[in-house]
Amino acid sequence: MVDLLEIEAVSASYGRIQALSDVSLKLQEGAIVALLGGNGAGKTTTLNTISRLVPVTSGVIRFDGRAIERLPSHEVVRAGVSQAPEGREVFKDMSVRENLDLGAHVRRDRAGVRADLDKALDYFPALKERLRQKAGTLSGGEQQMLLIARALMARPRLLLLDEPSLGLSPLLVQKIFAIIARLHADGLSILLVEQNVAVALAVSSYAYILENGEIALEGRSEALRNDEAVKRTYLGG
């Protein structure tokens, strides 16, 4: 089976600070792959190198067999990779509807966008009554839903999810991950960055653990769940 995403020995830095060194990972079409690790391990940076928000200093990133590490960010979105960034990166002063429209910014097929709006609202019905509301007035959970729905509006083949559980109550985390599982069941490929290791290992098939900008450990999620070192460090016992 062909890898949808293939990252090969990618390094990136912020000025003099080395953020990633020789990171390699693979994701097969239709899979959920988790990217785990502590704060500052380089998880978000990895996603941002794929989205071309952070430049790579060396290495290759292939999407569907095509090198994308030198493309401008809008070309990456057009190629089929879209990101739901971490935290509250919604466009706060714009309406929910406008946020969703921005997700489809690179697309010109109006009918398709219209259909995908219905589909996104079907995944996240809570947003339906709030379309005219400013995104900044949504609750934390709703903003997280909007981030994912907005990323879906690009009709991606690969969804990059950055910390979807961040700052949410356990109940909301459950809800969001149920939707992530549904997206997976519907055939979407997902690269998932999480600090909540237990939840991430439960939903993914394969996982990478980053430490100080390097891949420290990788393996099938099932195996990592039972790995003593992982249990000690990330699962609290």
Binding site: S51, L53, P72, S73, H74, V76, V77, R78, S82, Q83, P85, E89, V90, F91, K92, D93, M94, E98, D101, L102, G103, H105, V106, R150, A154
Partner: protein, 308 residues
């Protein structure tokens, strides 16, 4: 309700020259001109969130382009007004290049410096601009018709202002307007959505310069004498104040601010020494009590009254 108000406003604007004196029509011309300049400021600052403190310079480029092209080539005025906008837009595109390298206060200072330099050019390039002595320009014409008075120029000024207002509304509702606002709110998130941030900023600068340039072209329609005195930072600050007092980020705010503050500014002309102080006070009061601008403030107060 809203369309009724618009209809009344339009009727009043059409009837204006028949019911009033030349001075009032002159004032109306000036307010309409500033409305167009404010719409340009609205696009670059209100929508795209980029500081451009060179709007007076673009206005000046428009005035001179229009006045000089009318005199040199005998162009009909729609051509010279359009040329005024386009020349300004090209310069705006160059200044927009700065915007790609800087942000916030640095961008404000850089555009401010450009504005001052431009005024200096207009002041000292005497062979073309007449320098501080100013320049007499031929009246605007269209085929056999000459616009000799404020009243004769008024219909043209009004039509251009309405066209520019329509253009601003269209832009704001378009895909481009959405991209402007996304860049204003978060460049990183905008990039992640596939908004090409750099070219979007460039376009915002060029468009705001286009509006200011057209404003300059409008001014040349009802003026026979142009000079660079009023094309410095004071005018930019006046435009900035109009847009902020009206309500940053809304077209109604930009238009309302231009009209309300334009009137205040005209009234204050009798007392030039207090003018600056009063501008400053108004700005401070608005920042403190109505940071979203006059129209948002009125809207909220009206809403409260209705509920009470």
């Amino acid at each position: 309700m809203r369309s009724l108000a618009l209809l009344v406003a339009l009727a009043a604007l059409v009837a204006l020259p028949f019911a009033t004196t030349g001075y009032v029509v002159y004032l109306a011309n000036l307010l309409l001109t500033f409305t167009v300049i404010c719409l340009g400021m609205h696009l670059v600052l209100g929508e795209a969130g980029q500081f451009s403190l060179a709007q007076a310079a673009f206005y000046g480029i428009g005035i001179y382009t229009s006045g000089l092209s009318g005199a040199a080539f005998g162009w009909p005025f729609p051509c010279s007004v359009l040329a005024a906008g386009l020349v300004s837009a090209v310069v705006g595109l160059l200044i927009g290049g700065l915007a790609l390298r800087m942000r916030d206060i640095y961008l404000a200072l850089a555009t401010f410096a450009f504005g001052e330099a431009m005024q200096w050019v207009l002041m000292d390039w005497t062979s073309v601009t007449g320098g501080p002595n100013g320049l007499h320009i031929a009246p605007a014409r269209l085929f056999g018709l000459q616009l000799l008075t404020d009243k004769q120029a008024y219909p043209a000024v009004l039509v251009i202002a309405i066209l520019m207002l329509g253009l601003a509304i269209l832009l704001s509702r378009s895909r481009l307007g959405r991209a402007f606002r996304a860049v204003r709110e978060s460049e990183v998130a905008a990039m992640a959505m596939g908004v090409p941030v750099k070219s979007t900023k460039l376009i915002a600068f060029a468009l705001s310069a286009f509006f200011a340039g057209v404003g300059g072209g409008m001014f040349a329609l009802y003026s026979t004498y142009i000079h660079p005195d009023s094309l410095g930072f004071q005018t930019t600050i006046l435009v900035l104040t109009m847009v902020v007092v009206g309500g940053l980020g809304s077209i109604a705010g930009a238009v309302g601010g231009a009209i309300v503050f334009g009137l205040i500014s005209e009234l204050l002309r009798q007392t030039p020494s207090y003018q600056e102080v009063i501008y400053g006070l108004i700005l401070i009061v608005f920042m403190m009590f109505a940071p979203k601008g006059l129209f948002a403030f009125l809207g909220e107060s009206f809403g409260r009254l209705r509920r009470a």
